[in-house]
Symmetry: C2
Subunit: 73 residues, 2 copies
């Protein structure tokens, strides 16, 4: 699975486990809701700074988005 | 420390522990040597795909570039 899809699925997982909507997550990050949607679908090859912004908004360490994935090779 | 600086320092650390030059790492990744230099100095807000490319070239899981850093918040 591509790294962008891996990251997107983790964003969705952590967001849902916190019971917040894409819109609420976008508000916390200061990003647009449609941007969050495209990240979750793996359509965005986002930068480290935006990845960190999302991780902080979800109160998860950035490493947690990549641990235990087949991107660990 | 910014996420780009954190990532850059980890790239330098893993590269040096493997005893390869920026040029050799760039060749493996198919990226330019000056690009690798700017990543190591934290000057590049790189994308997840390029971060993964570098991690794979260094044979390290991407999570390892973010574990145990103050970006773990």
């Amino acid at each position: 699975m591509s790294i962008t899809h891996t990251f997107g699925l983790r964003v969705r997982h952590f967001r849902k486990s916190k019971g917040i909507s894409q819109e609420e997550l976008a508000d916390i990050c200061g990003l647009h809701r449609t941007y969050i949607g495209s990240v979750e679908r793996g359509e965005r090859n986002i930068t480290l700074k935006n990845a960190e912004l999302i991780a902080q908004a979800l109160d998860e360490p950035l490493a947690a988005f990549f641990l235990g994935t087949d991107n660990e090779h």
